[in-house]
């Protein structure tokens, strides 16, 4: 595995990127901007959050660069530096408070029933006592604190 400074900007990553078909995400440019030390171009950009972390770019990179892992690191830094997006914080909040990142709605219940699986998923919804464990985990891992700090 090589560091991103070995990148030759061939574009295999961007061309392979399924998210890049529908968004402005150019994986290659994330690497380029980091190479040049242009922090804000990376951390302040919405594109950073368009990656689905499918790892196709990393799998195909001829220079064996850990591109997807780099995107994840960049996101952590962006989050630390206050670039968290509102929808992300909303999802994080949902998880901290309910143990589910998406609100379980009636339509979900109906859909589940239509394919013959239990109407409620085997998560905290089926096991409310697990909520205590989730709270403990979000606290111990520091996740809760970080999210609340960003609340503003």
């Amino acid at each position: 595995m090589k560091t991103l400074y070995a990148c030759i900007q061939c574009g295999t990553c961007s061309g392979s990127c399924p998210a890049g078909r529908y968004t402005n995400l150019r994986t290659r440019l994330i690497v380029r901007n980091i190479q040049l030390g242009l922090r804000e171009n990376v951390l302040g950009s919405d594109d950073l959050w368009a990656c689905t972390t499918c790892y196709t770019c990393q799998e195909r990179c001829p220079r064996n660069i850990m591109i997807t892992d780099i995107v994840r690191v960049a996101r952590n830094i962006a989050f630390e530096e206050g670039h968290a997006k509102k929808p992300h914080l909303y999802v994080a909040h949902m998880f901290i408070n309910t143990g589910h990142s998406i609100k379980f709605a009636d339509e979900h219940r109906k859909l589940r029933e239509s394919v013959n699986v239990s109407s409620v998923p085997p998560t905290v919804l089926s096991y409310p006592e697990a909520m205590e464990e989730i709270s403990k985990l979000t606290e111990l891992s520091g996740f809760k604190k970080k999210v609340l700090e960003r609340e503003g």
């Binding site: 030759i8 574009g11 961007s14 061309g15 392979s16 290659r28 195909r60 990179c61 001829p62």
Partner: protein, 660 residues
């Protein structure tokens, strides 16, 4: 010099300009040295390797009756041979010379600490003195050289080297595993950047090889065993039965016309067919036909023999057997060339799955007048002329993840040439080359790029990421980012040509074992020095040239082949070689015959010999021994001594170092 003669050592300390004198206090080292036992003369000079410096050593040897010389200067890798010759010229045995490295191992690594460096220089000189006192005169050995050469591989590299050596008057055995010489170059249509027809410039050389009185052409042959050393290699060659008498066959081709069996032609990469009795291509040398035993009806089912019936020269020999030929040669040149990277290892490009994705070499056969389509560029899927062609660079090359880390060097120019050929043969065609970097570094190459750009070829910077086939049309959709625009795009072409990497031969590991030579991390055969000894290997008498050493284009290959021939001609024309006497020998009384040395020797220079019933002793072949010292270090009984690095010599050196 008798053993009892007292050592009279002269010490010469070099300034190397300011390399040494800028760090070490040379005068102090001279003072220190002159007080050491056995030192009768010590001095310093700005450049000891210069003519005046060497004259100083020679005069001092005579004036002070020196019987040992120590030079404190650079690494022995640099100038040990120089000073050995200086000693010899003054009548002193050259192996009574010792070198102290006070540059690389002292000044260059301790530049910031001149005082400590000066002390270290004294210690290094003292150690050299200790060893010098124990040096013994040695005499290089001389061997006669068989004035003939074996060249393995009959591509353009082997052909060029063979012709050069043969023209210089030496006998050459040229071994080629295929039925004809010519190699990859014979498969090419035109050659960049001048667009000469490849066959037109290659076939005259092939014909010359075929009729040269000094060349024995051994096609359909393989080197099987190699023994011996420079000047005296014994080689066994396997001559595979071709079931046709080489002397009788006139190459008329009636047999191939009549043969009922058609199989895909290797020469045309499966794009065309050949018969079970065949020559690979019309200009084959020799023109002798070969029966492909795997597919011949007589060999597979015991019937047919049509070729034998119709052959006007009565040259068919169904009873022919493989034979072994034994040769004695003085030198060997490895010109075994390259294989192509298997593009199926990168499934996103669809090679082997989509018919209209082909390799550059397959394109060469398509565009070649003697190829399966008579030179018409057509799509393999439907035989139609493509109106748009894409060339994709770096398939396997520069890809340390799934391919090879190096640049294959020829593909940029080859693809530009192909792009030009499409424009020439299919007017109005859309041609696009997708590249990461265009490397047009040779003579006339940049000019060729400009010419091709002018013809309207589109160059897009970006490696294509994936290819999908439209199953209805057989067209190919390419997904990529144009990295100069930053645009991700999908674009359709009717034919796609992949520029696949050049990789080491699949047989390279076997050949490496056979010749005992080294290969680099990239798998190609390794030269003795990347700059100064580019065609020698670390085995004296074995040379390399062409793509066996690494990817290269035809001009570089031919230049390197001529260089290898010139290097090989040195021992051949001398008729003898001298070998360094710094070799290992066995103290027979100590040797228990355990065989550790035999197993560890990288040059196969040690053999266990049965001296009497049940008693084996190691024996060193001094011609093969390169003095690496592995055996001496490994021997559990200390029964192996390396001349010039004996245990007393080394121990005294270490003792002196630790006593300062």
């Amino acid at each position: 010099m008798s053993e009892k003669e007292e050592p009279r050592i002269g010490v010469f300390i070099c300034h190397c300009g300011t390399n040494i004198a800028g760090v070490v206090d040379v005068k102090q080292v001279v003072d220190f040295t002159s007080k050491q036992p056995n030192v009768v003369f010590a001095t310093d000079y700005t450049y000891m390797c210069s003519d005046p410096g060497q004259a100083l050593i020679k005069d001092s040897i005579k004036e002070h009756k020196l019987n040992r010389v120590v030079v404190a200067a650079c690494s022995p890798r640099m100038h040990e041979p120089t000073f050995r010759k200086t000693c010899q010229e003054a009548g002193l045995n050259p192996y009574l010379f010792e070198m102290a490295n006070i540059r690389e191992q002292c000044c260059w690594v301790h530049m910031g600490e001149p005082e400590k460096a000066t002390e270290k220089a004294k210690a290094l000189v003292k150690a050299a003195l200790a060893k010098a006192s124990l040096l013994e005169p040695l005499t290089p050995m001389e061997f006669n050289v068989e004035r003939s050469a074996l060249i393995i591989g009959g591509g353009i590299a082997g052909i060029q080297a063979a012709l050069d050596l043969a023209n210089a008057g030496f006998h050459v055995y040229l071994v080629e595993k295929e039925p004809s010489i010519g190699g990859h170059m014979a498969q090419l249509d035109k050659t960049f950047p001048t667009l000469d027809c490849s066959a037109c410039i290659l076939t005259p050389k092939m014909v010359d090889v075929g009729r040269h009185p000094n060349i024995t052409l051994l096609t359909y042959c393989e080197a099987q065993e190699v023994e011996g050393f420079i000047g005296n290699f014994k080689v066994k060659i396997l001559r595979k039965a071709r079931y046709v008498d080489e002397k009788a066959c006139t190459g008329c081709g009636v047999c191939a016309q009549k043969c009922p069996v058609k199989v895909p032609s290797e020469f045309d990469l499966g794009l065309g067919m050949r018969k079970a009795i065949y020559i690979p291509f019309p200009q084959s040398v020799p023109i002798t036909h070969t029966i492909d035993k795997e597919n011949c009806l007589y060999f597979t089912r015991g019937v047919c023999k049509v070729c034998e019936k119709f052959c006007p020269a009565k040259a068919i020999r169904f009873d022919q057997q493989d034979e072994t030929i034994e040769l004695k040669v003085g030198i060997i040149i490895n010109a075994t060339g390259y294989d192509l990277f298997n593009a199926k290892k990168l499934p996103q490009y669809g090679y082997g799955k989509y018919k209209n994705v082909i390799t550059g070499l397959e394109f060469e056969r398509l565009v070649n007048a003697s190829g399966p389509t008579g030179g018409k560029i057509v799509r393999p899927s439907d035989g139609k002329t493509p109106k748009s062609v894409a060339f994709i660079q770096c398939i396997g090359s520069r890809d340390e993840h799934h391919g090879v880390p190096y640049c294959s060097r020829i593909c940029c120019m080859a693809s530009l040439k192909h792009a030009h050929q499409v424009k020439e043969k299919i007017p109005g065609a859309e041609v696009c080359v997708f590249y990461i970097d265009l490397r047009c570094f040779g003579k006339g190459y940049e000019e060729f790029l400009v010419r091709v750009q002018d013809e309207g070829i589109r160059l897009v910077r970006g490696k294509v990421s994936e290819i999908y086939e439209n199953p209805e049309t057989g067209n190919l959709r390419l997904r990529l980012e144009d990295t100069l625009l930053g645009e991700v795009m999908e674009t359709e072409f009717e034919l796609v040509v992949l520029a696949v990497a050049l990789v080491p031969r699949a047989e390279a590991p076997a050949l490496q074992t056979l010749l005992k030579v080294s290969r680099g991390a990239d798998g190609f055969f390794l030269e003795a020095h990347p700059k100064l000894r580019p065609v020698e290997t670390h085995i004296p008498g074995i040379f390399i040239c062409g793509c066996a050493q690494g990817p290269k284009d035809i001009p570089d290959t031919v230049a390197q082949a001529s260089a290898a021939a010139a290097q090989a001609a040195i021992p051949l024309s001398q008729g003898k070689v001298t070998a360094e006497p710094l070799t290992a020998y066995v103290l027979e009384d100590y040797c228990s015959g355990c065989g550790v040395c035999e197993a560890i020797c990288p040059y196969k220079a040690i053999e266990l010999k049965e001296v009497e019933e049940g008693k084996r002793r190691a024996e060193v072949n001094e011609a093969l021994c390169q003095g690496c010292g592995l055996c001496g270090a490994a021997c559990p009984s200390k029964a192996i001594v390396l001349r010039g690095f004996t245990e007393p010599q080394l121990m005294s050196q270490i003792e002196a170092l630790s006593s300062v």
